[in-house]
Symmetry: C2
């Protein structure tokens, strides 16, 4: 009989190695070793909010080429709760996912999704959007929760500000994020938990620089660039990512949080970013949008009504191997779940292939040519 | 490149053979040969309204043990339209379904779903619930539509009345259904289209008998028992199914339309019913309900919140092999599509296993023992 509590203990090993560096940009390839898995970077992590990448079975996520995904500690803490997932053998067993899992600390979600947020030096409290009760989270309890979930890579608790924010507020917030980072790292060490720090600092170069300097001195296993992709123009995202990435240690993984747009991914890769996550490919799928190269097709459009071809003639995903645009359009227009599922698979597959390309071109020393070609396409 | 219009032409062969008959009930096993497929009966056909069994990929439907499904001519006629499906190579290619397809004529859907219905001897007209335009359907156009879809088994156009109905109205309706059946059969012959007649007659034994006598004299390939499962008590369904099935030819398949409840299926099998269809197992799945033997579990129930076991310890479906009740509950409570998908797979798998049991017990001469056991369970 199936017993979800009998999961194997997970190896705690973590390391990162840069294997190739592009000559004319700062793009690089690397190997992220997480437990028994070796993951090639740059890598994209699909987002699992409630214990599943929306509409997909775990085998389908793997089938799209993914070996690591992001799970959301905030959502899982509220429902079903850390106790339940721990008692069921941890997050991997709960989700039936054999790959690696990075957990987001919940800092971003608390600030963007929860009502009644109160931030003090001690921690952050908010009202649960589900039950209405006040939830209190400290840097320590946040790392504890991720560790008890069985996260392969935890993220430090940070304060994430909206765009734009008052400069004085940004400076205060950076100080808080630095102090929380220190406490998170201590808790992670006590638990032998792999953990990444998060660089904040809004859209102020000096604040970012101060945050990098302080946090990089602490000795995290890797670094997230947080507080971007919160509504600012794309150029601003790239500018701050550029300034921040330059200051981060060469030998550790750099993770640009919340970016899932193909062009931004390629441009950020040229800045030496190694890891990405975003709900973008699956969210637009559920709105009926297909990623086709650098175009986006609204599958509700009547021009697809009789189209016998696949979403993308060059794509080898399950949806493109089995279904016409006409079929998918009909599913989307009829509000059928299969349509959203097929688009989710297709979009994740497209993004996984894009990362294969980025790694391939970087290894072959052709990344800058690829970057120019793509930028020309979009002008 | 994938091209949905390049589908193989489908063989038109159809035959039915009774292979085993139970000694103490009228339960029987048979082989339905449809094109190149041989399907064991009694058989259940999952329902595909808009070109997909809701939430499932075609391979998943096959993986649950199904070789034939029901497609809904009414829904497909309205959206995307017969022309489009025909131009894409027919319904099998459109849906990427390699098994057999029985198409429902739409009589039931017109009467139950469409506004502004007007029935005349010539045919039925109604207002499209999608575009609001008046749609006119004759027995001939109804068979033409199913034939152009590429249906393996078409159903005659019938008039389906609500429960209860005025006896005089039932008599008139039976006369109309008989006349329409004659015209449907003629059209089907012109098109070499396999077609089943449908016996109506509401809940009046005499009207049912008249309908059977007339329609069975025409020489259809099989017979549907229609107009049941429209809100009447279960005992009444079985009584009318019993009276009607007795009058139907022994050598042809008997199809009880719209019945998907496990107990009713077993009892109707004892009356010599060979085919069933219903959206029941997938509809209750989308409401968060799991079929477990003859029980139904509401997966929202808090008692499943920490339950590490599978939905059904005896079940070998994908959901039961990979996920705990706690995980599925969390998915359902969080409104996640994966939960509804896993329950749909589980419920279809359970029903497919039930039909394996029915066939197995019938072949082994043990059907009546099984029937008694099940009826005792439910008392």
């Amino acid at each position: 009989m199936f017993d979800s509590t009998k999961s194997k203990p997970r190896a705690k090993h973590f390391s990162f190695e840069v294997t190739h560096t592009d000559q004319s940009t700062r793009a690089r390839c690397g190997l992220l070793r997480v437990g028994n898995h070796t993951i090639e970077t740059p890598v994209f992590m699909p987002v699992s909010a409630q214990g599943a990448v929306r509409t997909l079975k775990p085998g389908e996520v793997g089938g799209c080429g993914y070996e690591i995904l992001l799970a959301n500690a905030y959502h899982l803490m509220l429902r079903p709760g850390i106790d339940i997932i721990e008692s069921l053998g941890g997050i991997h067993s709960f989700m039936a996912w054999e790959g690696s899992i990075l957990t987001d600390s919940g800092g971003y979600q608390v600030m963007s999704l929860a009502p009644g947020v109160e931030v003090t030096p001690q921690g952050v409290s908010f009202l649960s959007p589900l039950g209405g009760e006040r939830v209190f989270m400290t840097p320590e309890s946040c790392v504890e929760a991720q560790s008890r979930l069985g996260s392969d890579i935890a993220m430090a608790l940070d304060e994430c500000l909206p765009y734009p924010s008052d400069p004085r507020r940004v400076e205060e917030s950076v100080s808080l994020t630095i102090e929380w980072a220190r406490r998170c790292l201590e808790e992670a060490k006590r638990r032998s938990q792999t953990i990444f720090g998060i660089v904040q600092g809004g859209f102020l170069s000096d604040a970012r620089k101060r945050c990098v300097n302080e946090i990089c001195g602490m000795g995290f296993d890797g670094y997230g660039i947080g507080g971007l992709s919160v509504g600012e123009p794309r150029e601003v995202t790239l500018e701050i990512a550029n300034e921040t990435a330059r200051e981060l240690p060469e030998e550790l993984p750099r993770y640009l949080m919340g970016v899932g747009d193909p062009l931004t991914i390629i441009q950020a890769s040229s800045l030496g970013i190694d890891m990405f996550d975003s709900a973008f490919p699956t969210r637009i799928a559920r709105n009926g949008t297909a990623l086709v190269g650098f175009e986006r097709f609204n599958m509700r459009n009547a021009r697809f009504a009789r189209d016998p071809g696949p979403l993308d003639p060059k794509c080898d995903c399950y949806a493109c191997r089995h279904f016409s645009r006409a079929f998918i359009r009909n599913q989307v227009v009829a509000g059928e779940i299969l349509g959203l599922h097929l688009l989710s698979i297709h979009n994740l597959f497209q993004l996984s292939k894009l990362f294969e390309k980025i790694r391939g071109y970087t290894r072959e020393g052709k990344f800058s040519g690829f970057l120019k070609e793509v930028e020309a396409l979009r002008c």
